[in-house]
């Protein structure tokens, strides 16, 4: 099992968002988290990657995760290519993986541009390229489709299909349909205590 979650609860600001959450994901499975705003989709993703404490229940990961959330985490003054290479080096991923990721997210023409010049959608694509280039087996995507145009959504869908087909695992939170056929889906509304 790549991810196994049992009896997980999340308390934010004194309020229990969800409780008794149970699921396991194996290699080659993808999970979509749905539910209205504020139901705890982002919190669950942050708990899985260890950014929020897990006070009740347990999470175990047997693969390294890569996270793309609403913040691109790219230095505004650096060129896009360099900013992405910084993370690729930290991940010690092979450099052709980064070139591939840049190409797949359609960022070739933007690699020399400083990050602060990028639009919202381009920034989102850059964050997704960072995940693609990490070589991590588990992708955690928080609203990956936000701000993307149709062509970029298509590219994202193809990248997700390829990752799952290659034995990777994906957990994505999205309030609209993504062009990828998820193997599982959890609506967090029904996990509220």
């Amino acid at each position: 099992m790549i991810v196994s979650v049992s009896g997980l609860a999340c308390i934010r600001g004194g309020r229990r968002l969800y409780a008794g959450l149970e699921f396991t994901l194996a290699a080659g499975e993808s999970l979509r988290l749905t539910g209205p705003n504020g139901v705890g989709k982002s919190s669950l993703i942050r708990q899985i990657c260890g950014l929020l404490p897990c006070t009740e229940g347990s999470i175990s990961l047997s693969a390294s995760p890569a996270l793309a959330d609403e913040r691109a985490a790219l230095d505004a003054d650096r060129r896009l290519g360099e900013a992405l290479r910084f993370w690729a080096r930290l991940d010690s991923a092979p450099s052709d993986l980064l070139d591939q990721a840049i190409e797949r997210m359609g960022l070739d023409a933007l690699a020399e541009l400083p990050v602060r010049m990028l639009s919202t959608g381009q920034r989102k694509r850059a964050a997704l390229a960072r995940v693609l280039a990490s070589g991590a087996a588990l992708w955690l995507l928080d609203e990956p489709g936000n701000g993307l145009d149709d062509a970029s959504l298509g590219a994202l869908g193809r990248a997700m299909d390829a990752h799952v087909a290659g034995g990777g695992t994906i957990i994505a939170a999205s309030h609209f349909d993504l062009p990828h056929s998820f193997t599982r889906s959890i609506d967090l509304r029904y996990c509220a205590p």
Binding site: L51, S64, A73, D75, A76, D77, F86, W87
Partner: protein, 216 residues
Amino acid sequence: MMRALWPLMRRDIAAAWSGGGAWLPVIFLFLVASLYPFAVGPDARLLGATGGGMLWIAALLAALLPIERLIAPDVESGVIDQCLVRGISDEIIVLAKLIAHWLSFGPPLMITALPASALLKLDAGTLIRLEIGLALGTPALAALGVLVAALTAGLRSASAIAGLLALPLAVPLLIFGAGALHEGSGAALKFLAAIALLLIAITPIAAGAAMRAGRE
């Protein structure tokens, strides 16, 4: 985990110099040194006797200038979270920031102290003791800066609170740093080194804990 130290440090040093932030402490120290003789008059004996202490005050305040951009921007942009997801602990991130912060303001400040001491008519002995004191004291000032930056990251009017927090903690450094300027004051240097060791040792742990608490 330690292998992340070097890339993180290099990123911070590059950001300090390319953003121009690293020049601020240097220019500040030089400005103070060039304005001070205008304020107290050109009496070489008075300048020589008080100039060293003035340079210590300037160095201390110069160290506080970049506090705001040490940690808060990286928390906001998600860089810290991305490091944590990669298994790099808060303590390692803080250690990298501490070393990078010192490298981008300590040695430049020590070099600026050379022309500054000429402006203040410091004699050679005082200059050497000032440089030794700065070599011991600037790492402590860097540690203090990172610690306060971690404590105030994400607060509103963080820079004002940062100044209030850092200044009382920096007073011992000022006392022993300026105290070491007189001849035969080896004990003051030893106290300065002891304080520096303490601050450098607790900063990664305390600042790491502050960052962890700030994520709740």
